[in-house]
């Protein structure tokens, strides 16, 4: 039984002259305790997807079609009261920059106690005990002392630990982490990732990790979705995708990792840039940047097919499969 099911989700931005579509036909499932990565360049719509799941889209963005099922509830139909029961308690989210996600004028403790008491009727003392317990769970030393401190008195890594502790306060079932390590330096990054993975494993929390960094993905996620220009272009088990990327975009992303370049050579990069909202090309959105693009890619949109390794939306792969007479998988094969 899937914990979270996203079905044909579409997110639009209603502007004065026109309506622009930012996410097209996004479908995926998340099982309890599973760790899923959503990968793509900035502008691919991955953060937007995160915000859409917790219904924090900013005007003029809105969910124009599709459904998000969490247990038996359709999240797109909930009122703000019902959302308050879910956000923080069942689904938590952490953001990129811990510098700005903590309120500068409240102490760490005040923010934690407030989060607990927004959902549970417990005494301030008990809330404090719980908060300090959670702080020590994220390996913060001298938790009682940190409890009294303001965010600006903590280091960046420490702050992100506090953010994670706050997200984990009420034992959520899903944790959405939007680029949780991008604002941190590499050594801290590794620690935080390790901590996230460990916490999710220990407490059976399902994780949606939004990132642009395959290095991060490989360490944490079991399954990966690759997004480009508002669509999922490839999905499958993380290891398989990293070892044998199918979609040209995924290949490009992996090739762009500095580890993949040979010494003395220029770093690989995908030519061109992510199309901005409202300028999504016809056909396969990736065709202007794709080394394998054909005339067909320009006018027709590839459907996701199972390649034997992952589910890919690409005509080049389709042809390859047809040539080698591999059986085509059905659309929903994950």
């Amino acid at each position: 039984m899937a914990l979270l099911t996203v079905e044909h989700l579409q997110v639009d931005f209603r502007l004065r002259q026109q309506t622009l579509t930012a996410l097209y036909d996004i479908s995926f499932t998340l099982s309890p305790g599973e760790r899923l990565a959503i990968v793509g360049e900035s502008g691919a719509g991955k953060s937007l997807l995160g915000y859409a799941i917790v219904n924090l889209l900013r005007q003029p963005g809105y969910i124009s079609a599709g459904a998000i099922h969490f247990h038996e509830q359709n999240l797109t139909k909930l009122g703000s009261r019902q959302w308050q029961q879910i956000r923080g308690k069942k689904i938590a989210m952490i953001f990129q920059d811990p510098m700005v996600t903590l309120n500068p004028v409240l102490t760490v403790g005040e923010q934690m106690v407030e989060a607990i008491r927004a959902h549970q009727k417990i005494s301030a003392q008990a809330a404090k005990q719980l908060a300090i317990h959670k702080l020590s769970q994220v390996k913060i030393s001298a938790a009682e002392q940190r409890f009294e401190q303001y965010p600006h008195e903590l280091s960046g890594g420490m702050r992100q630990r506090v953010v994670i502790a706050i997200a984990m306060l009420l034992n959520p079932e899903i944790l959405i982490a939007d680029e949780p390590t991008t604002a941190l330096d590499v050594t801290i990054q590794a620690q935080i990732l390790h901590l996230l993975k460990q916490l999710c494993e220990e407490q059976g929390v399902a994780l949606i990790l939004i990132t642009h960094d395959f290095g991060v993905v490989s360490r944490i996620a079991e399954r990966t979705l690759v997004m480009y220009a508002g669509r999922i272009v490839e999905r499958g088990p993380t290891l398989e995708i990293i070892n044998d990327p199918q979609h040209p975009y995924t290949q490009g992303l992996l090739n762009a990792l500095p580890q993949m370049a040979l010494a003395g050579q220029r770093l690989n990069q995908i030519p061109g840039h992510m199309p901005s909202l409202g300028e999504h090309p016809s056909g396969c959105a990736f065709h202007p940047r794709c080394p394998y693009a054909t005339e067909k890619c320009r006018w027709q949109r590839p459907r996701p097919i199972y390649s034997g390794i992952s589910t890919v939306a690409c005509f080049a792969i389709e042809e390859l499969l047809a040539e080698t007479n591999l059986e085509e998988g059905d659309d929903n094969h994950d």
Binding site: V54, S80, Q96, V105, H152
Partner: protein
Amino acid sequence: MNMFERQPPTAPTRLSHLWGAIKSDKLALLALCIFSFYCLVALLAPFLAPYDIDNPAFMDLINGELPPVWLGGDAAFFLGTDVQGRDILSSILYGTRLSLTIGIGAVLIQLCLGICIGLLSGYLGGKLDAFLMRYADIQLSFSTMMVAIVVLAVFQSMFGGAAYQQLAMLMLILVLGVAEWPIFARMVRAGVLAEKDKEYVDAARILGVSRSRIMFRHILPNTVSPLMVIITIQIANAIVAEAALSFLGLGMPPSQPSLGALIASGFDYIFAGAWWIAVFPSITLVILIFAMNLLGDSLRDHLNPNGGWR
């Protein structure tokens, strides 16, 4: 970026920072001292004043129009007496108390209305925001004095002098308070607009914190520092407005004179030679207003992000 860590958007200990800045600014410190002195005097007026001006026993026409001590007056009345023989010093002490009460009371009302309306308007946005802000524009386009004069005059004629005397202070606080909330509302709204898209607000929302708590506990504390400036200036403005209204006979009644009412009652005798009745309350008022404006100015300097006080 981590080598040069960005400062958090606002420093949480800004009030103590502010105190540090004021301490090093001699003029601001002087202004603060004067204001504190006035507040102290206002609070302790019943104990400091040589005479109880509410007690008719201290009104004696025989003592009327005595000049200050150094001009040959009675040693019992340091600053002289008015026409009814009331001690000017005592009147000023009580008058300061009334003026400050009205000024601070009016600003408290402005502040409450302004904060609530500004928060709602800024945070909820949309049609409500448009409506509230247009309403604020309309209200600001009427001058406060005009509104106050009309309301108070109507009130006075409707309820008659006796009822008015009892309610004068309350009415002044209400009228001055309600007339100028848009100044605070606009300021708070501007602050809310700057803060509400910051991620800590999203983070609070995602934790399931309720809307009102987000508004009052998360956003409001991040917008207060510019309010400090307006609070001081607005108290000064309210006191001046009250003085002006009293001078016109629409403010405090002569039986409970505020500084403005004292000036008004003494004004008639200036050319008769008894200048001290009007002049001493005027000096008191001017010093108070001057100190408050000075304080407001230096707060503005220290809170201005371009002033570089960090």
